[in-house]
């Protein structure tokens, strides 16, 4: 009866109460920041004495914010493309292959996901110092790609494992070349996996901060590094404005995912 909603009795109220409180705990800080970004108090008083767009004006007036956002975007796009392409090729190898140590190899590909990011950050920082990649776009792309690839491989292998290979074989029997069959039959069938891989890769790179803190140079930094550096000095509402734009992007991506999922189902 504990798993039957209607028979929980007054326990139901306790469970719902805790769930509502937790949902509020998770949601309110996000809404709070969005509200403060429009507040007129420089000291982040809540509720704010008045409303203003001043912080957004300051954000857009400062070229360093825009530059770092543009840097982040460029890196995230390149990482997404590379991560999906590499993820696709690797996943085909991992799912279709019948070779020794396949499971070990798969586990190895996922390790960047589980190891503490700070270890990778410090290790890559030392390595890039020696080969001159610190503070370069290439350095950012490589390090973010290492972190994004596991998510891409995970999404695409799970889609591939759910795909019936005999459909691809049938296309080959009907005269398609193996490559053509993969492009025209298999890829559309696993597009949801490719889509998740792209979204996860983009967000992994776009939100990544630990490696970026080490990788950044005075002339090249990502948006999270700019936020981090600003936060170390003070809690200015300009960060609230920047955070609100980041939250907005998350909401947009979530809506996009929901729409695409719905589209794929129907």
């Amino acid at each position: 009866m504990l798993l039957n909603f209607d028979r929980l009795g007054w326990w139901k109220l306790v469970l719902i109460g805790i769930t509502l409180l937790t949902a509020a705990f998770l949601l309110l800080p996000i809404l709070f920041i969005a509200a403060l970004s429009f507040g007129s108090s420089q000291w982040l008083i809540f509720p704010p004495p008045g409303w203003t767009l001043q912080w957004y004006r300051e954000l857009f007036a400062d070229p360093r914010w825009l530059e770092s956002a543009w840097t982040s975007f460029q890196i995230a796009i390149i990482v997404t493309v590379l991560s999906v392409l590499l993820g696709l090729v690797t996943s085909f190898g991992l799912t279709r292959g019948r070779f020794l140590f396949r499971e070990t190899l798969k586990a190895l590909f996922l390790t960047p996901m589980i190891l503490p990011v700070v270890v990778l950050a410090v290790a890559l920082y030392a390595f890039f110092l020696q080969i001159g990649l610190n503070g370069t776009l290439t350095g950012f792309v490589i390090s973010h790609l290492v972190l994004a690839l596991p998510f891409s491989i995970l999404s695409i292998t799970s889609a591939l494992e759910g795909f019936d290979k005999s459909i691809e074989d049938a296309a080959v029997l009907c005269g398609a070349s193996p490559f053509e069959a993969k492009i025209r039959v298999t890829l559309p069938a696993i597009s949801h996996g490719i889509f998740s891989a792209a979204i996860f890769s983009f967000l992994t790179s776009w939100d990544e901060v630990v490696v970026a803190i080490f990788m950044a140079s005075p002339t090249l930094q990502t948006l999270p590094v700019k936020v981090w550096a600003t936060l170390r000095q003070d809690l200015t509402p300009v960060v609230a404005a920047a955070s609100t734009l980041l939250i907005l992007l998350t909401v947009l991506l979530m809506v996009l995912v929901a729409v695409v999922r719905k589209g794929l189902k129907s």
């Binding site: 998770l26 709070f32 982040l44 590909f109 960047p112 955070s243």
Partner: protein
């Protein structure tokens, strides 16, 4: 490995094969990337921990022999343990409620969980820095309710880190727990009720034991993720309760001491891998990453 047309095949009546890729070859580009930019750099870092400034285990002796560093290890475990405990305490009832609730309620809560998980880490940490400051909303609310007279120090200390980290870890414990509770057959609990168990007995003797593997796996995951966290403890914690990840960063960035940085990184790696091995051994491979 490329299977090339070789002389033997060409000489026999087996048709010569074209230069083809095997499935293993497909994984080579990613493997190359991983070895060159993950395995090698980490290996070099660890090697430097036993070679700089002088060859030997001096860095490890210093790390494990100093009360300052031991206090940082202790604090790392304390914070991770606290965060895991609080997340589990809050996460279990929420996961349970989600598993039994009508789907309309549940999907709203899920949307909030996902939104929170996907929202930029720094944006969320910033929110708590503002909320918990001396003149922040939380202190004002507590004073307004008459619970305290003067503002509590909620940030730059253990309280701040625990609140901020729990906030980040909650979705990571609720989602797997939900999956586990979802899979429990309600008939087992009906059977318990038929045999005369009241709600408490069913909870303590049936539901909790059945959910225990999921709870242990989720708790271990949150614990391991917390051990290596850098950003949130650095922003919400104080100087007095530094965590391991921050120590590693400090060795490397401010002190330029690669030997000690490598040694501290190895300690974090070993603990993480050991706990991960426990996880694999007892709970299978289901887990998610974090930073």
């Amino acid at each position: 490995m490329l299977s090339r047309t070789d002389a033997k095949a060409a000489g026999s009546n087996v048709p010569a094969r074209r230069l083809t890729l095997t499935d293993f070859d497909l994984t080579l580009p990613a493997l190359g990337l991983l070895v060159l930019f993950f395995v090698v750099p980490v290996a070099i870092l660890l090697a430097r921990s036993v070679s700089e400034p002088v060859p030997g285990l001096g860095n490890y002796a210093e790390l494990l022999g100093s009360s300052t560093y031991l206090r940082i290890f202790a604090n790392t475990f304390l914070v991770s343990g606290l965060v895991t405990f609080v997340s589990l305490l809050i996460g279990f009832p929420v996961a349970w409620a989600l598993a039994v609730m009508p789907s309309r309620f549940a999907s709203v809560v899920f949307a909030i969980l996902l939104l929170s998980m996907w929202t930029n880490l720094l944006a969320r940490t910033y929110a708590w820095m503002v909320l918990l400051q001396r003149t922040g909303v939380v202190n004002k609310l507590l004073i307004g309710l008459g619970l305290i007279d003067k503002p509590l120090p909620l940030v730059n200390n253990l309280t701040g880190v625990t609140i901020g980290m729990t906030y980040i870890m909650l979705p990571f414990i609720i989602l797997p727990l939900y999956g586990v509770i979802r899979k429990i057959d309600p008939a087992i609990l009906q059977a318990a009720a038929l045999c005369g168990a009241n709600r408490w007995q069913s909870l303590v003797r049936v539901l909790l034991p059945l959910a225990m593997p999921g709870m242990a796996a989720g708790a271990l995951m949150v614990f391991v993720m917390s051990l290596g966290y850098f950003v949130t403890p650095a922003l919400l914690g104080g100087t007095a309760n530094m965590m391991l990840a921050e120590l590693i960063a400090q060795f490397v960035q401010s002190l330029v001491n690669w030997g000690m940085g490598g040694a501290a990184a190895l300690v974090l790696l070993v603990v993480t891998l050991a706990l991960y091995a426990v996880q694999l051994r007892f709970f299978g491979t289901d887990r998610m990453g974090g930073r």
